[in-house]
């Protein structure tokens, strides 16, 4: 799985399909992890955002 696919799966789980679509259309393979982590940290807290640390 690519980083984008992993981010998409996590964003779908945390928020929903529209946010997953956001990863697909507005983020790149390089910046998706940092962007998603920032959003999740701000909205759901740093504990949940730790899930992004596992994305390779």
């Amino acid at each position: 799985m690519t980083k984008k696919e992993q981010c998409k799966a996590l964003m779908l789980k945390f928020f929903g399909p529209a946010t997953a679509n956001l990863v697909d259309n507005f983020m790149t393979e390089d910046d998706c992890v940092s962007k998603c982590k920032r959003k999740v940290t701000a909205l759901l807290g740093s504990e949940i955002a730790k899930e992004f640390n596992n994305i390779m």
Binding site: A18, L22, F26
Partner: protein, 265 residues
């Protein structure tokens, strides 16, 4: 002011300005082209008829009053619906023939005559006659005077001023211009309708749908179904942001309840 009039009114204004500008440019161009064509064709016609039916002597004769019959006959040959009368000049600025006989023998200082003597077809378009009595009297609303140099073997021998009745040309110009303006108007209306439909279905309707959803969410209905966001446009971006805010609100409410429960225990 709502979004639709805010966006649509400037578009209507711009379309109107562009349409009027294009309409005026096209109608001016149509008129110029029609007049230029009329001048050119008439000058060619008069010149060729003069060369075939008159001689250099007809223009250079000292006794030009005896040439009246020659020019009367020439006028009868060239007279059409548009070519209504002529004036003939020799190279000494003298009018040697005119349908108004009292003008014969008088001199002209017209710049148009000078131009014609120098080989250049010269034209003056008279102002249209407005009064119906005068129109009935002279038989036309507007005339164009075309000064045609008459050239025999490369030498100009005289000038024929042709009175060209413009009524028919003006009528044609008006009809063509009206058609062009009508087409332009239809085209503008079509553009405006298209823009209106695009604005309605691509911008206004999705925004209104989002407003309804956002309104429900702010009323506490956090499980309200959000519009689908499958494309990569701004609206999908907005739906995603709303979705994240809803999830965040739900999360914070849950965390708050859990903390409260733990505190109560």
């Amino acid at each position: 002011m709502k979004l639709m009039p805010k966006v649509f009114l400037p578009i209507i204004l711009i379309t109107l300005i562009i349409s009027v500008t294009i309409g005026m440019t096209i109608s001016t161009q149509i008129k110029d082209n029609a007049l230029e064509r009329a001048q050119h064709v008439t000058a060619e016609y008069i010149s060729s008829k003069a060369i075939s039916e008159l001689t250099p002597a007809s223009f250079s004769s000292e006794d030009y009053r005896n040439q009246t019959d020659v020019f009367d006959s020439f006028l009868e040959h060239i007279r059409t619906e548009e070519v209504i009368k002529i004036k003939v000049f020799n190279l000494n600025h003298e009018i040697i023939y005119s349908t108004a006989k009292e003008n014969i023998g008088t001199k002209t200082d017209s710049q148009n005559y000078e131009n014609a003597v120098n080989g250049k077809i010269s034209v003056i378009v008279k102002d249209p006659i407005e009064d119906q009595t005068n129109i009935d009297l002279v038989g036309y609303k507007q005339v164009m005077e075309i000064y045609v140099p008459i050239n025999y073997d490369g030498k100009i021998e005289g000038v024929i001023e042709t009175y060209y009745r413009m009524d028919y040309v003006n009528e044609v110009i008006s009809k063509v211009t009206a058609k062009v303006l009508m087409l332009l108007g239809l085209f503008s209306a079509l553009i405006l309708i298209t823009v209106y439909l695009i604005l309605t279905f691509v911008v206004i309707k999705p925004i209104n749908a989002l407003i309804v959803v956002a309104d429900k969410i702010t009323d506490g209905e956090l499980d309200t179904k959000l519009p689908e966001a499958k494309s990569n446009d701004e609206m999908s971006n907005l739906v995603a942001s709303l979705e994240m805010l809803v999830a965040s609100s739900k999360f914070k409410i849950n965390v708050g309840s859990e903390t409260k429960n733990e505190a109560q225990k």
